[in-house]
């Protein structure tokens, strides 16, 4: 068939466009588009187009191919058409001549040629067709890359991802439009308009689009995008599975509840990550700081010990690479246990340096802090109990009154109890506990007790920033006249002292079935035994169910940095003897215990060496050019000289500080 197509292409014979063939081509072009996404192929850098290559391919065509073609096709084409065909061949050969770099490039060449062979003889307007083919092929290989640089070059225009091949799959559109015109099957219309809608949605939802951009520097975004795409069937079937199980399996029920509305929720928080206002270069240390904060009800009396580690991650075509960071410079530890006082911020560094063997080469990195801590949560739920026949009497009274006989009506209309469906209320924190029960009031008969539900849901509330790593202890408390049994867990008397009027059980899974990670939620179903002994001498008895869970939680926070290539030009400048870098030296503790800080002019190499210093890095020039003036007793301002210092805050005693105290002017 290919031979036939080639022969037709040469002989310029027209045919009709077969639907199946067009769809096949459509699938092929769609497949190529998907592969572009997967492999982040974005064409060739137009910088590759240089005169020598253009000329080389041109001579190749003129010298060999044109004469052959002319002998084959003479008198079958118009001059314009012939020229356009030659230009098209030249473009293809030129692209091949640049060096077919990878599998995607080959596919794009094949795709362009396939379209040419398939459609050229179907259309009557061959000149326009070849013109279009030439333009599309050039755009495909060079245009997107070029368009992506417009904004960065000129400072305005659409973002790269808005002009990418993701939004404009040109070959797919071309095939669809051509098929609409030359086949007329409505399926091409449907696909065309469907694609238009998708593209419009993508343009509107620019965050997704940004992730989907096929720029090489957004490899991580693309990788994440495909991870999310792969999760869709998982999520969809997972949801169906969950719905099915919620109907038939108690462990999948998600009991709802609320947390106490606290202005300052409890927990451990990574407030922010900071890299300071500096540029990281290859060969120099990378410093990141995390501000950690905890909040508990005991306030400053409470010290929480957290486990911290950090790492730098980068994505390349060969995969992801992780490098652990150092958190304790003295002992060179990659993970530490840190005591953090409630309400007090603690700054924790993460260092990547050749001295620790974890230097970061040039590239883009995602720095992640992981913080693990032990915490707890409480939950309570109010329940109402009534005598069964009294409850029936009350329902009848409501009917007699012309009101709707219902559980809510009995509580609200007869006994003025507004909270007719009490919610489960949990303490604040990253984990939400919720107790699920049968609807209240529970009606208890004369002789037999009732079995009623007690379900405990442990839910991860901070899904986007953490997860439950392990559930350590579960305690369930019921009124002392209730019985409790759980199908999947062993209950034993709690070692803790129970509250008066309650009895507490410790619930444990069998060995090997403990609750470890919880990304979303887990539910523990139990049953209670309630008899008349639980009733007070009042129509509606109120009781509380409680639970407490101890767990280990992990939170993470990330920041993106870039380590730039070492500037050869600058090194050359330094070698020429320039010392125009203002360098801040922070030495190890002096005998007095305070770190010594100096600002001095130096060259780049020297500034970045840390042979006997904790760190040294580029500082703002003014710290070397100016002096630090102390005004009165609390003000610190950079000034040019002593005269300028004395002019500040007249009436107060001002003085210039020595260079080791210049850091006071940093704030």
């Amino acid at each position: 068939m290919a031979k036939l197509k080639l022969s037709d292409w040469v002989s310029n014979k027209s045919q009709s466009l077969n639907t199946s063939y067009a769809i096949l081509l459509l699938i092929f072009s769609g497949g190529v588009w998907v592969l572009d996404l997967l492999n982040t192929w974005d064409g060739y850098d137009y910088a590759l187009i240089n005169p020598s290559r253009v000329l080389g391919v041109g001579f190749l065509i003129l010298g060999f191919i044109v004469p052959i073609l002319m002998s084959l096709v003479s008198r079958r084409f118009s001059f314009r058409e012939f020229l356009l065909r030659i230009i098209y061949i030249w473009v293809i050969l030129f692209i091949i001549g640049l060096g077919v770099r990878d599998f995607n490039s080959i596919l794009h060449v094949i795709l362009s040629l396939s379209i040419s062979f398939s459609f050229a003889n179907i259309t009557d307007d061959k000149e326009s067709f070849y013109m279009t083919l030439i333009i599309l092929t050039l755009i495909d290989f060079f245009g997107f890359y070029f368009l992506g640089t417009i904004r960065s070059s000129f400072g305005f225009g659409l973002d790269a991802y808005q002009l990418s091949r993701i939004v404009i799959p040109i070959w797919v559109y071309f095939i669809l439009v051509f098929s609409q015109q030359h086949n007329g099957d409505p399926v091409f219309d449907w696909i065309f308009w469907g694609l238009i809608v998708l593209n419009v949605l993508l343009l509107l939802e620019s965050s997704t689009l940004h992730v989907m951009s096929a720029r090489p520097e957004n490899l991580e975004g693309v990788s994440e995008f495909w991870s999310d795409i792969k999760k869709i069937p998982q999520t969809l079937f997972g949801s169906l599975y969950k719905i099915y199980n919620q109907a038939f399996n108690d462990t999948y029920v998600d009991y709802s509840g609320t947390q106490e509305q606290a202005q300052d929720p409890q927990g451990v928080f990574i407030e922010e990550l900071d890299v300071g206002d500096r540029v990281f270069r290859e060969g120099s240390p990378v410093y990141v700081w995390a501000k950690l904060k905890t909040k508990t009800l005991d306030g400053v009396e409470d010290i929480l010990t957290v486990h911290v580690d950090c790492y730098a991650e980068t994505t390349s075509l060969s995969g992801k690479t992780k490098t652990k960071g150092v958190l304790d410079e003295e002992e060179k530890k990659f993970s530490v246990f840190i005591p953090v006082t409630s309400g007090v911020e603690k700054s924790i560094p993460c260092i990547f340096d050749a001295d620790y063997g974890n230097e970061l080469p040039e590239g883009k990195y995602k720095i992640t802090y992981n913080v693990e801590f032990d915490f707890g949560a409480d939950v309570r739920k109010k329940v109402y109990l009534m005598d069964r026949y009294r409850y029936i009497n009350d329902l009848e009274v409501l009917d007699d009154k012309g009101l709707t006989p219902s559980k809510e009506g009995v509580l609200r209309d007869l006994y003025k109890i507004e909270d007719t469906d009490p919610e489960s209320i949990a303490s604040s924190g990253p984990v939400l506990l919720a107790i699920g029960t049968d609807s209240v009031p529970w009606d208890i008969g004369e002789s037999e007790s009732i079995k009623t539900l007690f379900g405990l849901t442990i839910k991860n509330l901070w899904e986007s920033g953490g997860k439950v790593n392990k559930v350590n202890n579960i305690y369930l408390s019921v009124p002392d006249t209730f019985g409790l049994s759980c199908s999947e867990m062993d209950l034993s008397t709690s070692p803790r002292t129970p509250e008066e009027g309650l009895k507490e059980f410790k619930a444990e899974y069998e060995s090997g079935h403990e609750i470890n990670e919880i990304d979303d939620y887990r539910t523990i179903p139990c049953l209670m035994n309630v008899d008349r002994e639980s009733l007070d001498s009042i129509p509606v008895t109120t009781r509380f169910l409680k639970a407490h869970v101890d767990y280990t939680y992990v939170i993470d926070k990330t920041i993106h940095i870039e380590v730039e290539e070492y500037d050869l030009g600058r090194e050359e400048e330094v070698l020429e003897g320039q010392t125009d870098v203002c360098c801040k030296y922070v030495s190890k503790s002096s005998p007095q215990g305070d770190p010594r800080t100096d600002y001095r002019w130096s060259d780049t190499n020297y500034c970045e060496s840390i042979s006997d210093y904790i760190r040294a890095y580029d500082a703002s020039l003014e710290f070397c050019e100016k002096e630090c003036c102390q005004t009165g007793s609390s003000g610190f301002i950079l000034v040019n000289d002593l005269d300028e210092c004395n002019e500040l805050s007249p009436g107060t005693e001002n003085k210039l500080l020595e260079s080791s105290q210049k850091y006071r002017c940093e704030s």
Partner: protein, 320 residues
């Protein structure tokens, strides 16, 4: 002859006086039997705190005020706290007070003393510690008060022996189709109206009164004498709720009285949609139309019932 005529006139005069029934109750006294409130529960005057701290104490004060003219001597008060969060001085979360047992009485209004009698219950409440990780808890104080009460209604009715105006002489009154008693009788259960009808049976008049009862309050009507059962967790006998008891219907100074020559149906008053109606009819052959002229009488209706009032208050317990 003249003497006979004089004696006859005197006899007639005396007998008509008896049948017309001068006003039995002084009008002044009837004024106290008005209103639609019985005993109300009120703690708004006593500044119940909206927030308390764990470990703290506060006073829960409740005012029971008798707005009606009837004495309350059978009553039961229940106050329930959230067990485990608050308790009374005796360590219990439930407070009970039986009026009968303690001899507590709430007097009704009289013409000599029109102020509302009241009683203030002051209870010390201890707030317990919250759970270790809990910052606050919204706790509820639930109150239930059950009491026996009464009602007395007075209505000026016209016993019209000539309802169709057949006789030529002027009548002292004309029968009314409905007498509104919307002001109430000094309790939550009221007689809202009375509809008199004059039934004629040959020469005899049979007055009939349709009496409409209504629960005007927010609480629930219970059968009298059931206070201890209702203010408890017991199952209740049929007819405990929404049942009143008619004690007496009379007019003409007791000449016509329930159980003697007045019969009422149905025998039991059961409120449906907070209303009920009873029809009381004077026995036949009691009033001869030819002998008695139309006259005004005061119809007195007495009834008794029990009532329940409930309320709840919320307090936030905060962590220290």
């Amino acid at each position: 002859m003249k003497k006979c005529l004089c004696i006859l006139a005197c006899l007639l005069f005396i007998s008509s006086c008896t049948l017309t029934g001068t006003t039995e109750e002084p009008k002044l006294e009837r004024d106290i039997y008005k209103g639609t409130q019985g005993v109300i529960l009120d703690n708004s005057k006593y500044n119940l705190p909206q927030e308390v701290y764990e470990g703290e104490q506060f006073t829960y004060a409740l005012r029971l005020e008798n707005k009606g003219p009837y004495e309350v001597n059978t009553a039961r008060l229940l106050i329930s706290l959230d067990k485990g969060f608050m308790e009374f001085n005796d360590g219990s979360h439930l407070y009970e007070d039986n009026f009968a047992g303690t001899g507590t009485i709430l007097d009704g209004k009289t013409i000599y003393y029109t102020a509302d009698d009241f009683l203030v219950k002051e209870l010390l409440v201890h707030v317990k510690e919250l759970d270790a990780l809990s910052e606050y808890h919204d706790s509820t104080i639930q109150t239930l008060f059950c009491y026996d009460y009464n009602g007395i209604a007075f209505a000026d009715v016209c016993i019209d022996t000539d309802p169709h105006n057949l006789k030529p002489e002027d009548k002292s009154c004309t029968s009314q189709s409905s007498i509104s008693l919307s002001e109430g009788q000094g309790g939550p259960v009221v007689i809202s109206r009375i509809e008199p009808r004059m039934l004629i049976n040959n020469q005899f008049l049979t007055p009939q009164f349709k009496i409409y009862f209504q629960n005007h309050g927010q609480g629930t009507v219970i059968s009298p004498g059931k206070v201890a059962d209702v203010c408890n967790n017991n199952a209740l006998e049929k007819g405990t709720y929404n049942t009143l008891s008619l004690k007496n219907v009379e007019f003409s100074n007791g000449r016509f009285k329930l159980g003697q020559n007045i019969n009422c149906i149905p025998s039991e008053l059961v409120l449906r949609n907070e209303e009920d109606m009873i029809s009381c009819t004077v026995s036949s052959n009691e009033i001869n139309r030819d002998q008695v002229s139309p006259f005004m009488a005061v119809l007195k209706v007495e009834y008794e019932y029990g009532y329940t009032e409930s309320s709840s208050d919320q307090i936030r317990i905060k962590d220290v």
